[in-house]
């Protein structure tokens, strides 16, 4: 008889010997129920899991306002302010150029003349 055959016969005997007394079965059932009560269940929606994780790590919803939301609001307001300042700077520059062009001695048609443009490039060397 080879190893596989021996193992198969012993396995059959082991399976037949799985009858346990009522006391042990009750203990095993209680252990199983205790384990199920503590089963770790992860959220199947990543966004919610992430949000839950942030809330959990920050110490609950009440701690979320000063720790997360306030800095985020400051950051967003700062970005809006920087963007507004850049737009106004750009508008001022354009206004300045327009004013210089309109009030200059050179007629506007000169800027549309390709020959004048070529002369400007040539003379700048």
């Amino acid at each position: 008889m080879n190893e596989q055959q021996i193992a198969y016969r012993i396995k059959q005997c082991l399976n037949r010997g799985l009858e346990l007394d009522a006391g042990k079965l009750v203990r095993l059932k209680a252990a199983r129920e205790q384990a199920l009560a503590r089963q770790r269940v992860e959220s199947r929606i990543p966004v919610l899991a992430w949000a839950g994780n942030i809330i959990g790590k920050s110490g609950g919803p009440s701690a979320l306002v000063p720790r997360v939301l306030l800095p985020m609001a400051v950051l967003i307001l700062g970005l809006i302010a920087i963007n507004h300042w850049r737009d106004s700077q750009l508008a001022a520059e354009i206004e300045e150029i327009d004013a210089a062009v309109l009030t200059g001695d050179l007629p506007l048609d000169a800027y549309l003349d390709k020959g004048f443009d070529a002369w400007l490039k040539h003379s700048s060397y």
Binding site: E3, I6, K11, R16, L28, R32, Q34, A35, R38, Q39
Partner: protein
């Protein structure tokens, strides 16, 4: 796509494996209360740490936890009382190098004449197998039960035991033949 274990699925898995787990622990620690505690600890660890894992991963994870919990039990026992350790080192069952069934075999050889297999009741054979499994070296018993009772393949058994596939094959072969020899010496033909 792998499915995560729901509460019912985990419950079914634990219900299906708990008796074999208890017997495995019993073979290892030889005390019903300690064996029940080991199974309970293993179930709790599985549910708490791996309760959200896919169902297909649970058998291997549970066996790994069970084997580690049994090993931790041995360690705690050693720390608690040194004399128990010394005693167990001398007694069969915990000895890795020697095969206690060899001595058992010679001691039981004289009984073969008046112990024919056909007169043994089924439960007696089961009792004998239980006894011999308890007396097997720990690693041999572990490999044999994981491989042939829990039906893991060689690679999975090696991963659970933290050893090579070659070691698993060796342990299984020795365990199977030692059990067969010991039973034969008692007049039990498998």
């Amino acid at each position: 796509m792998s499915l995560l274990a729901s509460r019912n699925e985990l419950s079914e898995f634990l219900a299906g494996v708990e008796r074999r787990a208890y017997k495995q622990a019993m073979f290892a620690v030889r005390n019903a209360e300690n064996a029940l505690d080991i199974v309970q600890d293993s179930m709790l660890k599985l549910a708490e740490k791996y309760g959200a894992k896919p169902i297909v991963e649970l058998p291997m994870l549970f066996q790994r936890i069970l084997q580690n919990t049994i090993r931790d039990f041995y360690r705690r026992q050693k720390v608690r009382s040194l004399w128990v350790t010394l005693f167990s080192a001398l007694s069969p069952g915990r000895e890795e190098e020697s095969d206690p069934l060899e001595t058992l075999e010679s001691a039981d050889a004289s009984n073969t004449k008046d112990g024919p297999a056909d007169r043994l009741e089924q439960y007696q054979v089961i009792e004998l197998i239980d006894q011999y499994l308890e007396r097997l070296p720990q690693r041999q018993r572990q490999a044999f039960l994981l491989r042939y009772w829990e039906e893991f393949d060689v690679a999975e058994t090696a991963a659970i035991m933290g050893c090579s596939a070659g070691s698993v094959k060796t342990h299984c072969s020795r365990a199977a033949h030692a059990l067969a020899e010991a039973l034969r010496a008692k007049g039990v033909e498998l």
